[in-house]
Symmetry: C2
Subunit: 411 residues, 2 copies
């Protein structure tokens, strides 16, 4: 069975908005053995939409469309689909009632354009939108399914997961598709490939290996389709074990997770706590930890010491060091990491200070120079790194290396 | 002239990696009047690549392909393109020399797979990769241009901007395309549309208006194509002024920028400083400020006071308040915002405390309840909000509202 996504919106084509919807839909469908074959991003233009839909209907059985369902004039998806399928209009009374109470609860006047959102093509099944005013739609056409969803991510997700997915599962039963990811750090992909060459060369044709490098990490993903007679999960687990035993301590996880998540799990299991002192990363490391639900079980707090004054007053770094060795130095980071651990009274701490760029570099400390420290009550480890890439790259690489240093210290 | 992007990689289709390359390419090309007509994300599969390329060559003059150029076995783009165009192989001596020095500088052994990266199809122009080992390629086929770039974002960006774009500009001269964005806050898109109905209904057919809602903000984008006789920039500026005068103080910027950037510009112009105390947002607000190059000119530092102990010890919040009114209260946030401003010695401060979810909600303070405070030396403003959406939504909305409260205070 082939599935495709169509995302509609000029904002995607000119790069004003990042398409996060397709990635999320890809993940969700994969869990149910449905692979997305193509993602097609197109313009808010009726003829482009019709052309793309015709192409997709030619080659796929399930087509998911996002975007263009809002109340404003640039939102043309609903009308275009009704045109395409030659459908008349109906008022969905349940949607209308829902809209009335939506505006009443928010104390907002209901405009004519809002009422129009209850008008839907006659032949489609309504997929209620609990978090917004634009309902999703389920069309069937010559045995194929077309689902239209709003582009606002949290509305789209809610409708898809609770309204569309149960219907999809009823309709399509798929051979099991299984993914398993190994997360590695600090080994370039060509060296990883060389080391696991033996395993890779002997993979059966129904199992694929992919390398996904990012910010000093490489994720290795094995993907397989269930064959009769063998359990794909067990089959893939065998290869995962083989790869893991070759790569040894380059492997930081055998599930697809962030470095923050790995450290969170370690600390949570031991009931221990973490504080962070960030300079050049400016809150990113703390954000990576606190994006995890339940972060408060291990994360106590941070000091973002962007200025030297904050490093001195809030973390106790000696002021003289800024002139003698500079803020980006192992001495300062040692005092930062021990200072934040003591003051925030945690079991462990992370501290970073560096030059994220584009400005601020010098001959001695060029852009990309970052000092990272981690500590427990008894041990402090501090190391200087030289990262390549732009500002966000330096921040991202620092984040990964900092969590990895702490991971090793905890181990 | 039609242009399209093909992004190659199963990781995009299963949602393991977000396609940020297309958005960036769309932005860059737009600056030069080139509109991307479609973004096509497809599988690492030779027949899919050939099929997609044939389709694109049928309808477009410029095709940019990203991904699949790495040294590992799952990287098949180069071989597939050579096959498709029926080209033999050549060794690019300059790439080889570059590779040798790349590995030497990094103290890494050069593997056979790395050497293979200097092998390129005979008929293509090499686009050097200064930051990695996979060169880009420029193909010409029946008067059309096909550019192949690596998928790693910072390598792709460097090659595209400095190697491919100059060649594209030589080749294609386009009628000017002009975008202008107005950023609004706190007015739903249907109400915005109602208010500017008169302007929207009178837009000429070569100017389009789009609404882009996200996290309590709506960006309004006008896009126009240069017509003979009139300057499109002046034409669009006239409509922007008309919309701006109708929407009044809902407009926070007339350039596409983040709330952090708006406040950064205000503070930078006045040579004033900012500190932040974050609870539920856990570093996100500070990260939004410090992702801006030169942030240190206005941003001094933050305290991420996730635990009540940090709120008390680092910010001076009275401990008794946690029991009487709770951490998510206007009293606590008042003490947080004044505490962080005094301790970090800044002109202004922001503080937030709330329930980001999914856990931690109560009947009195359900998930989405957030208290935001801003202050200067003389004035403190604190307000309670109820945001909808998931954890990241609550964090994002809090970020936007917090910066907006500070923006208004500074004004």
């Amino acid at each position: 069975m082939r599935a495709e996504i169509i995302t509609i919106g000029d904002e995607l084509l000119i790069g004003q908005v990042l398409d996060t919807n397709s990635a999320w839909l890809g993940q969700m469908l994969n869990k149910f053995g449905i692979k997305i074959h193509r993602i097609n991003s197109i313009s808010d233009d009726a003829s482009e939409i019709k052309l793309q839909l015709a192409e997709c209907l030619n080659r796929s059985e399930l087509i998911i469309i996002t975007g263009g369902l809002g109340p404003t004039k640039d939102d043309i998806t609903k009308k275009t689909l009704a045109d395409y399928f030659g459908m008349r209009w109906r008022i969905d009374e349940m949607v209308l009632a829902q809209l009335v109470s939506f505006f009443k609860n928010r104390g907002r006047e209901m405009l004519e354009v809002n009422k129009l959102q209850a008008e839907l093509p006659e032949g489609c099944i309504t997929l209620f939108n609990e978090w917004g005013t634009a309902p999703g739609m389920w069309f069937e056409h010559e045995g194929k399914i077309i689902i239209s969803l709003p582009g606002v991510p949290y509305e789209m997700k809610n409708i898809f997961e609770f309204k569309a997915l149960p219907l999809i599962n009823e309709r399509f039963s798929q051979p099991k598709l299984f993914h398993k990811t190994i997360v590695t750090i600090n080994v370039p992909e060509s060296i990883l490939a060389k080391r696991i060459e033996q395993v890779e060369d002997h993979l059966p044709s129904h199992i694929k290996l992919a390398y996904l490098p990012n910010w000093n990490m490489v994720r290795l993903r094995l993907t397989g389709i269930q064959q009769t007679g063998k359990d794909i999960t067990t089959e893939i687990e065998t290869y995962i074990l083989a790869i893991q035993s070759i790569l040894g301590d380059a492997v930081v996880a055998t599930e697809d997770m962030s470095m923050a998540e790995i450290v969170y799990n370690q600390l949570n299991a031991k009931n221990q706590t973490l504080s962070i002192a960030e300079s050049c990363t400016g809150g990113y490391i703390s954000h990576q930890m606190t994006i995890l639900p339940g972060a408060s079980k291990v994360f106590v707090g941070s000091v973002i010491s962007y200025s030297n004054s904050v490093k001195h007053h809030q973390l106790g770094v000696e002021s003289t060091l800024f002139e003698t060795v500079g803020a980006v130095s192992e001495q300062v980071v040692t005092q930062m990491v021990e200072g934040v651990r003591e003051r925030l009274m945690t079991d462990y701490a992370i501290a970073v200070s560096g030059v994220a760029g584009p400005g601020g570099g010098s001959v001695e400390k060029p852009v990309g120079t970052v000092v990272i420290g981690v500590c427990s009550k008894d041990i402090t480890l501090v190391k200087t790194y030289h990262f390549i890439g732009d500002r966000m790259n330096v921040i991202g690489r620092t984040n990964n290396m900092a969590f990895d240093m702490l991971r090793r210290l905890i181990l």
